[in-house]
């Protein structure tokens, strides 16, 4: 479908979201709210060590405890055949997944599951965990990405040989993969440059921080039919991963999506669901498994810590001639970090003729990294956009003008291959430059930072059904969990096509047996891709209603138009509303239901620019965010409040990542801050009101011009804040997070360096 300008009556307005009342009154049902008669309670035994061999597991005493109904270990989970399951922006290796679900011969991180128990109460299940005897042989561990790449580093997998290097290495290492994106001739580019700046950066592992911990209820019946209730970003992915792990048929497992309390990419895989099914199968009763916050932080996908070097050259007129970047990412226990996105997108806001960007995917003893909002891109942008700020200062150019001079525009060839269609980079920059924020005065110890970001967005498979009810209301059936207001945006697009108000369309997110396969809610794809499916399904319903009207009027269908929620006779003045047509449906051919199932292509990238003002307390090192404004190309904001919400939420997460969030490990490799007290996400009072300025450069591949908006806003904050700290203090911060002790140490080091001349 292609974009055409239209007069819009619903798209672009701000109706109350369809799920709003349930959520603000606490009626919405999340994963842990569900219970079944006869249900057992499960608990997971987790390794207290970062890297060990598992010598033996004895579950006899646990099994003998009265009230215990099932105990499982890695020996109970048959290793599935090798394979890859696509999960939005992630690819899940099924054998790695099995080894992550329950450790087999080796444990790879503190928190790695080694056994699970189901019992008649939580207390008995917890007691049973204490009766499981595991003999570990503790091995040396490695967590830092640079250390893990050294020849003498403890080796996680003795069968891991670096992919992407020629010739293939003879020795195994922790480096799973080397990837490369390049064009032009960087030597020539550096020769042409008048200024070259090279800097190194590090970031720590961070967590998605969704408020709802993972939870599941599973019921595996004697006839092999099973049901799972859980909170996820894709019921079909949960189904497919579970059936792969348990060797089931797709039709034998129904996954019912619960309301989701945040995911940010982290709920595009399974941790508990296959275990709950196995326990239920073994016990013959339903089983509930939920994680504590500590388990969430210790054992679910954090995002990669990284080590990066960026070297960028520019001419005196501000033209960037070349960039050479090396990016190393923690992959966690198994290969598969999002380093590829950092490589492809760190320079993507710009059109740079000579590029050499290399990435390394490195296994380390922390949980398997999983997708986190624009996975990988914030790390790369932190390095790239900080060096750009230094270059702009050296060139005495305004940082926005410098970026605009080098911006990728329609027709630019992207670093990762395709040529850009219309994109909004320049529009974001000029809007930022003309915004009152950019001209506002700053006080002492205050500074302003600018950074841009890029996210590619994805399309993918989506289905939608539009059911026309007798009273003229619409049941919109869809298969993508709503993590960002997509019930509202999809219902609004349906209403727009029908010519009715959004409140007359009731969206439902249904189970895996009630609609065709849908890809996950991820990649900022739902309003774009499912939106196209909804528009097509609605057009299908409109076509059918025009046919029924033609039948009722006894004229040809091409004599029937559609306007304002009604069939209109083109050569006359008769009209039939949706309900008038629906009430006669039984007599005109049966009930009316539009349907579409598509694989959407052409998700337009979203570009964004952030402005950030900080104040630095020079005596304590504490950073206060004074003012924050985001500018982002949404293509078309279907429900502007939820686009603004995405922009604000992404910025808030990025601010937390910049200021305080980090995985802290002790000398034994155990996570020391497995709770929200010491894993410091921002609280509301830490942030100013984040202003969101929506830019609309329509995406030609969507009927309303939509681009995904959910991920791009987390890309710029790391660099925007680093650049603002420099503006305030003259000190460059290149190692995240910018926590008070680190900022104070950097300020003092700079003070001493200055004193020493």
């Amino acid at each position: 479908m292609t974009y055409e300008p239209k007069n819009l009556r619903v798209v672009g307005t701000r109706p109350i979201r369809h799920d709003g009342a349930d959520k603000v009154t606490g009626r919405a049902n999340y994963a842990s709210d569900f219970t079944l008669p006869g249900m057992l309670w499960g608990r997971v035994l987790r390794s207290p060590h970062a890297h060990t061999r598992v010598i033996s597991i004895n579950t006899d005493k646990a099994r003998a405890l009265p009230g215990v109904k099932a105990v499982i270990t890695g020996a109970d989970l048959t290793l599935p055949p090798p394979g890859i399951t696509q999960a939005g922006e992630s690819a899940i290796n099924t054998q790695h997944l099995a080894k992550n679900l329950l450790a087999r011969d080796k444990v790879f991180y503190d928190g790695h599951p080694v056994a699970a128990v189901a019992a008649i109460s939580e207390a008995i299940a917890q007691q049973a965990l204490g009766l499981i005897e595991v003999v570990y042989e503790v091995l040396p561990h490695v967590i830092d990405v640079d250390e893990a790449m050294r020849d003498d580093a403890p080796l996680l997998h003795d069968d891991l040989f670096t992919e992407g290097v020629e010739p293939k290495p003879e020795k195994p290492s922790n480096i799973a993969k080397r990837i490369f994106v390049g064009k032009g001739d960087i030597a020539k580019g550096f020769a042409e440059a008048d200024i070259v700046i090279e800097r190194s950066f590090t970031t720590k592992a961070v967590h998605q921080g969704y408020i709802e911990p993972q939870g599941v209820v599973a019921n595996y019946a004697e006839d092999g039919q099973a049901m799972v209730w859980c909170s996820s970003q894709g019921q079909f992915l949960i189904r497919d991963l579970c059936i792969t792990m348990l060797g089931m048929e797709a039709s034998s497992l129904k996954v019912i999506p619960a309301e989701i309390g945040g995911g940010f990419g982290g709920k595009t895989t399974v941790y508990l669901e296959p275990l709950a099914l196995m326990l239920s199968k073994a016990a013959g009763r339903p089983v509930k498994l939920t994680m504590t916050r500590g388990e969430v932080l210790r054992a679910t996908g954090p995002h990669s810590g990284s080590s990066m070097t960026a070297k960028i050259g520019a001419m005196k007129d501000g033209t960037i001639t070349t960039a050479e970047v090396v990016i190393k990412f923690q992959a966690g226990a198994f290969p598969g970090s999002p380093v590829g996105a950092a490589v492809m997108f760190c320079s993507a806001p710009y059109d740079i003729p000579n590029l050499s960007i290399t990435g390394y995917d490195v296994v380390v003893n922390i949980p398997k990294i999983h997708a986190y909002r624009a996975p990988g891109a914030p790390n790369g942008a932190f390095a790239f956009e900080t060096v750009l700020d230094e270059l702009a200062r050296e060139l005495k150019m305004d940082p926005i003008d410098f970026r605009a001079k080098n911006s990728a525009v329609e027709g630019s060839k992207s670093p990762y291959g395709p040529t850009h269609g219309p994109i909004g980079g320049i529009e974001c920059l000029s809007s930022a430059k003309n915004h009152p924020h950019y001209k506002a005065n700053l006080g002492p110890n205050q500074g302003r930072g600018v950074a841009s970001g890029f996210w590619i967005n994805i399309g993918g498979q989506s289905a939608a059904t539009v059911v026309v009810n007798r009273d003229g209301t619409i049941s919109l059936v869809e298969g993508c969990p709503d993590i960002g207001g997509t019930r509202a945006s999809l219902a609004m697009m349906c209403a727009e096509v029908l010519g009715i108000v959004a409140e007359k369309v009731r969206p439902s997110i249904v189970d895996t047996t009630a609609i065709a396969f849908n890809d996950v809610t991820g990649g900022s794809r739902v309003t774009f891709a499912t939106g196209i499916a909804v528009v097509q399904a609605t057009e299908d319903a409109v076509r059918q209603m025009r046919e029924r009207a033609a039948k009722m009027w006894d004229i040809e269908v091409d004599q029937v138009g559609w306007r304002d929620g009604a069939a209109q006779e083109l050569n006359g003045n008769r009209s039939l509303t949706i309900s008038q047509i629906a009430q006669k449906a039984a007599k005109t051919g049966g009930q009316i239901m539009g349907h579409a199932s598509i694989n959407a292509h052409g998700a337009g990238p979203s570009l964004t620019t952030h402005l950030c003002d900080v104040e630095v307390d020079r005596e304590t090192g504490k950073i206060t965010i004074l003012r924050y404004t985001t500018f982002q190309d949404a293509g078309k904001a279907v429900h502007p409040s939820y686009v603004e919400g995405q922009m604000q939420g992404g910025a808030a997460q990025g601010i937390g990542w910049a200021l305080n969030e980090e995985y802290i490990h002790d000398a034994q490799g155990r996570l020391e801050n497995a709770g929200f007290l010491d894993y410091r996400m921002p609280v509301a009072s830490d942030l100013p009101m984040i202003d969101a300025v929506i830019i609309e450069v329509p995406n030609p591949n969507h009927p309303f011009g939509v681009r995904g908006v959910g991920e791009a806003p987390i890309v710029p904050p790391l660099a925007a804040i680093a650049n603002a700290i420099y503006d305030a203090t003259g000190v460059r911060m290149r190692d995240l997070p910018f926590s008070p002790p680190k900022v104070l140490a950097a300020l003092e080091a700079a003070g001493k360096a200055k004193a020493n001349g």
Partner: protein, 286 residues
């Protein structure tokens, strides 16, 4: 686990003394978290919230008497107490968040004996006295004698802190408390400092008491403070000396919340800033 909710202090003391492994529950914002996470287990909890005397704030001839189960919100909303002891009140108003301050009690904050408890340095600087009832009757001790180490107190078996007495004080007196946390709320002090000053008619400091928190196993009285502050009007050099003395007195540890070096520096900064605030308040006070 047993739960009892006595209506009088005597009943509470009897219950505590008769059940081995029993502990006092007031707001529960520390205890319930410890029980749920499995870091503490108790045979019984004795809920003291229904004892009227423990929930009252009274202005007496001896000063303000604050019941040990009085929550932070009751303190910060008590206008006369806030006017007399702004530092104690602001320490109570920093604990947790608005919701937590509706539960968390002054007695619990002190008796949980966290080195980072916010009210403890403020109470110590204020020369607050803890009034204790136990199987052997009543006794009173200065607040700095309650905590003996992280999670440990000097209270004997069966003893309950029932109230805190903030003494009457001369004109031109005020206090202040500051702490450093990386966030703005829902956090635990990396360092804290309480300062209590009385000024002479010309603005010269006549009396001073400073306590620092989160930089040693217990909150510390900064013994050097009176010598540094009394007789001055808080000039730059005095403030620098105070900051240095606070850093020198600190005995901090390196942990996930801060380094030794950072805590020494910051506790000095906080002592200096709290002194300036207390001084400004005292000048404006009656």
């Amino acid at each position: 686990m047993q739960y009892q909710s006595p209506a009088s202090i005597d009943e509470a003391v009897a219950a505590l003394a008769s059940i081995g492994g029993a502990c006092v529950l007031a707001g529960g914002t520390d205890l319930l978290v410890q029980l749920r996470s499995g870091t503490a287990s108790r045979a019984a909890v004795i809920d003291v919230k229904n004892i009227a005397a423990l929930r009252a704030i009274a202005e007496t001839a001896d000063g303000f008497r604050i019941g040990a189960a009085v929550c932070g919100a009751d303190i910060t909303e008590h206008a006369a107490l806030v006017a007399a002891w702004p530092g104690v009140a602001e320490a109570a108003g920093l604990i947790g968040s608005t919701q937590i301050q509706g539960r968390a009690s002054l007695g619990g904050n002190v008796c949980n004996a966290s080195p980072a408890a916010d009210t403890t340095p403020a109470l110590i600087a204020a020369r607050a006295v803890a009034e204790i009832v136990g199987p052997n009757g009543k006794r009173s001790i200065p607040v700095e004698q309650i905590a003996t180490g992280p999670g440990k107190t000097s209270l004997a078996s069966g003893e309950i802190v029932v109230s805190f007495l903030l003494p009457t004080r001369p004109a031109r007196s005020a206090d202040a408390y500051l702490r450093l946390i990386p966030r703005t709320e829902m956090d635990i002090a990396v360092a804290g400092a309480g300062v209590n000053l009385t000024l002479g008619e010309d603005g010269t400091i006549a009396d001073a008491r400073v306590a620092i928190g989160a930089v040693a196993p217990t909150a510390l009285v900064l013994d050097a403070a009176p010598g540094i502050l009394v007789g001055t009007k808080l000039d730059e050099a005095t403030l620098a000396t105070l900051a240095e003395a606070a850093g020198a007195a600190a005995r901090p540890i390196d942990d996930k919340r801060g380094t030794i070096d950072y805590r020494r520096k910051v506790v000095g900064v906080l002592a200096k800033r709290a002194a300036l605030i207390a001084y400004g308040r005292a000048k404006g006070a009656r």
